[in-house]
Symmetry: C2
Subunit: 344 residues, 2 copies
Amino acid sequence: MSKKPSLKDIAQRLGVSTALVSYVLNNKKENRIGKEIATRIRQVASELNYQPNRMAQSLKTNRTRTLGLIVADIANPFSAALARAVEDEADQHGYTVIFGSSDENPAKCSQLIDTLLNRQVDGLLIAPPAGMEAKLTALQQQRTPFVLLDRYYPSLHTSYVALNNYQAMYHAVEHLISSGHHRIGLVTFDTVLFHMAERGRGYLTALRDHDLSTRKSWLKAVDPCNAAVETAKAIRELTTGVQPVDAVVFASNMLTLAGLQQLIRLHVRVPDDIAVVGFDETDAYNLFYAPPTFIQQPVSEMSQQATRILLDMLDAPDRIMQVNIPAKLIVQASSLPQSVVHEQ
Amino acid sequence: MSKKPSLKDIAQRLGVSTALVSYVLNNKKENRIGKEIATRIRQVASELNYQPNRMAQSLKTNRTRTLGLIVADIANPFSAALARAVEDEADQHGYTVIFGSSDENPAKCSQLIDTLLNRQVDGLLIAPPAGMEAKLTALQQQRTPFVLLDRYYPSLHTSYVALNNYQAMYHAVEHLISSGHHRIGLVTFDTVLFHMAERGRGYLTALRDHDLSTRKSWLKAVDPCNAAVETAKAIRELTTGVQPVDAVVFASNMLTLAGLQQLIRLHVRVPDDIAVVGFDETDAYNLFYAPPTFIQQPVSEMSQQATRILLDMLDAPDRIMQVNIPAKLIVQASSLPQSVVHEQ
DNA sequence: AAAAATGGTTTAATCGTTTAAACAAATCCA
DNA sequence: TGGATTTGTTTAAACGATTAAACCATTTTT
């Protein structure tokens, strides 16, 4: 009931100054404080269940022990998984997390950054949409600690933790080639974001390195705003054209989902008619009759590392750290020459 | 760059007191302030891009304009969808959201509540795990505004927004009956949580109301900690026993996913061998060869209402509001007599 | 013309901490 | 014995806002 106890309450109860109480409770000046009074202070503090007022603390110290997290959309399983791992790691270090969704919109993202900074977060974890270079540069100039997560800009010298997208895609395509596929399509997003470009580069390089043809019509870049419809169209074109592909790789989980749905609709059999490699892990994959081979991102590890780097940067905002994490290719029925699962 | 501008900076630049600046910027004492000086203050404020220091404001006003959100697991699509809708609604009212995952663990949830309160959140949105009655009662006694979301305790007089789980399940079962099924199984969680109990009650009542038998062996309550394995076992028993069921309803999205996977593994055809009704919407459903009929929760609406109620309660913590929201049954191939989709 | 109301602004206390600096008393050292 | 140290504690000034109350001019009322 009543008010929450403050330093003052403890001090009054013992007839000492609030300063002393503060020193004791923060273990400062340890060597100079009387042992007896220290234990009495600690005792009263726990009796009253004293909890320091964070606002007052933050006002004084300019530290909130709060991190801001900006993802594309917290409702997307990938973002949610990132968020969860960030939450856990932050919690372990006594930090809490405020989050926001940018909806891939740079204006909204900038706005969100400002809101979070205005809330005095100590640092930011950002999975930035396209077109955030200027804002991020500005952040850096005002020495706000931040770490980019999942995506980054090669032109910017910032901390980041991201998948090695080039290598991930290269391996995936190589796997398709080595399992006998020669006409390989890619469905990716039409975006300038570097991580997507890297996936495209991995795809093209792998094909070239194996002397396979790389037709423009096999590389489908769909509009992120209309992904479901455009992916469906892309798949129709890839499978029914003059030169239909015998394999397709998807560059994101949403694309994979939309693509598989369309394959079902078109009665194109996986892997007999077409081999498939998806991106990211989702529960959904297991409901597909031929469990898809997919590129697995170590989401937890990425979030964890990014969070740790950010926490380090709080004390040294200029210590830039850049981490590329390798992906793992989980091979399942959807890309294997003869299907293990024929009929249900 | 230097320091962020404060009220004092504005005041000094104009040779007035900080009080006046504060009054102007907060539109207080409107009628008494000189028009000219007011506009000049506003102008300087925007020139300096003045942003009030939230910590100082909060310290003084005891309001942080921050809400706490506790879900079972932010990585679960259902929780994530809740979170997203809360975020949007809160944002519209100038509030930000701190979140945490309880992992269905009451101790962790209590701890989380304390952390969030310690962060001075103005109020809490909680999807509580089992066994939180005492903590919630305590919260109520200290007049902390909170709204339960998705789940609630009938024994507690608290605000909540939840699905009408009884009715949702009743309708689902009735639909199965009317489409010709008589031996209907349920896979639910083994928990005392009221919302789950209600789903069970809806199932049983619907069967009884239609004079159908209700065998104990048809009601499978699986351990939430081992859901995948136990659901698989439950499905095996339901489909291969002496009295196999001709339809099964699942009481959550995770159960639905696990159940459908097992049906695939066992080569039990949906809907020919067994009809299926799932709970919740997920992208995953669309990868199943027979798109499942499911009980659709209006997630956004729930979050939105809960958030609004909480915001109301900030000014009147005793205004208890209880809302039950009806579910919608989305009928698809998995529960219809003859399958539209026969083979891919 | 004195009293009252009004208008425009400032003073100063306060929220709950942190922390450098000051202080007093005990202890040391030569 | 007395100056320098050490030890234990307090004083007081921040941090950046809010807001009741005080203040001083005008203007209005009686």
